[in-house]
């Protein structure tokens, strides 16, 4: 694939921006978690592009793929904990709307 690095980074930036908007604008806890996953995927794409930029012939830059692996791992842990929190919230409030939980507001 002979695509300029910039175009890959533009795709990563667009996905991150959309995830950011979803995180800030939506109130459903599950959609908020999905937006976080979207942002992590955009970061992965940026890592991959970095690896493509810094690889020279015959010597691939391994930092990109390895960081991507760790990000995938963190994302799995985050999804497991986040969804368990959504279940706990639903048990408490019978809803997954985040705006119903404002007990900590000063």
């Amino acid at each position: 694939m002979n695509v300029p690095h910039q175009h890959l980074l533009i795709l990563a930036g667009a996905l991150f921006g959309l995830g950011c908007l979803g995180f800030l604008l939506r109130r459903n806890a599950i959609i908020v978690l999905a937006s976080v996953e979207l942002m992590l995927n955009a970061a992965n794409l940026a890592f991959i592009t970095g690896s493509r930029i810094h690889s020279t012939a015959g010597r691939p830059s391994l930092e990109g793929p390895i960081f991507t692996l760790f990000v995938i791992l963190i994302a799995a842990a985050e999804a497991a904990i986040g969804l368990a929190l959504v279940i706990a919230l639903y048990r408490l409030k019978q809803t997954a709307e985040l705006d119903t939980s404002s007990e900590l507001r000063g």
Binding site: L8, L15, C20, L24, N44, L73, A80
Partner: protein, 202 residues
């Protein structure tokens, strides 16, 4: 050919992402997220990262999506009448202003950063060979990155314990439906994690 496919996949990924954040029901949102993950896996494949494409499909489109779908179906959040009870649609001005400001800051940062990106593309021979050969990755993971690798396994263990504690029925509380369902989620996530460990170890 591959370039055309990349731009088509990029468009599809952005479209699915818009679907994720604009869907009315969480079910549609999560299924759009699945589409975005699959598009990104194909982009990884085209970009010369075969192993990461496989890991993306296994862990994201497999394990994480199953968790999401499981919770959406468990909580029956697709019930739109129930969703409509809460003011989900009315977005406050501060919230929209904050979102717009963050999008603007992101755009400025992206413009500043793009000045430092070298133009041109990756070496076609390298793309064909692949950037993430299993042997180099395994050697790097178990030598230079051994400490992060072990820390990651500790993190997964802590996650598993944390999910079990969160999902555990409160002492003295009657055995209710949601508690049992939460325990099932804990079991599902515990099943998903060894799969990831396996992907990392390879």
């Amino acid at each position: 050919m591959a370039e055309t496919l990349f731009y088509a996949l990029a468009l599809a990924a952005v479209g699915f992402s818009v679907g994720v954040i604009s869907a009315r029901s969480p079910m549609i949102s999560v299924l759009s997220l699945l589409g975005a993950f699959v598009c990104l896996a194909l982009v990884y494949l085209l970009a010369g990262f075969q192993f990461l494409a496989a890991a993306q499909v296994l862990v994201y489109a497999g394990a994480i999506m199953v968790l999401f779908l499981f919770v959406v179906m468990l909580l029956n959040l697709t019930d739109l009448a129930k969703v409509a009870e809460h003011p989900t649609r009315a977005l406050g001005l501060p919230r929209v202003a904050l979102a717009g400001a963050s999008a603007g800051v992101l755009g400025v940062l992206a413009l500043l950063a793009s000045a430092n990106v070298p133009s041109g593309s990756a070496d076609p021979a390298m793309v064909a060979q692949g950037f993430d050969g299993l042997e180099p990755i395994a050697v790097a993971l178990f030598s230079r990155y051994l400490l992060p690798f072990e820390a990651a396994s500790l993190l997964l263990l802590a996650t598993m314990v944390g999910v079990i504690v969160l999902a555990k029925r409160q002492r003295g509380a009657a055995a209710s439906g949601p508690a049992k369902e939460a325990a099932a989620v804990a079991a599902a996530s515990a099943a998903a994690e060894p799969q990831l460990e396996g992907a990392g170890a390879r």
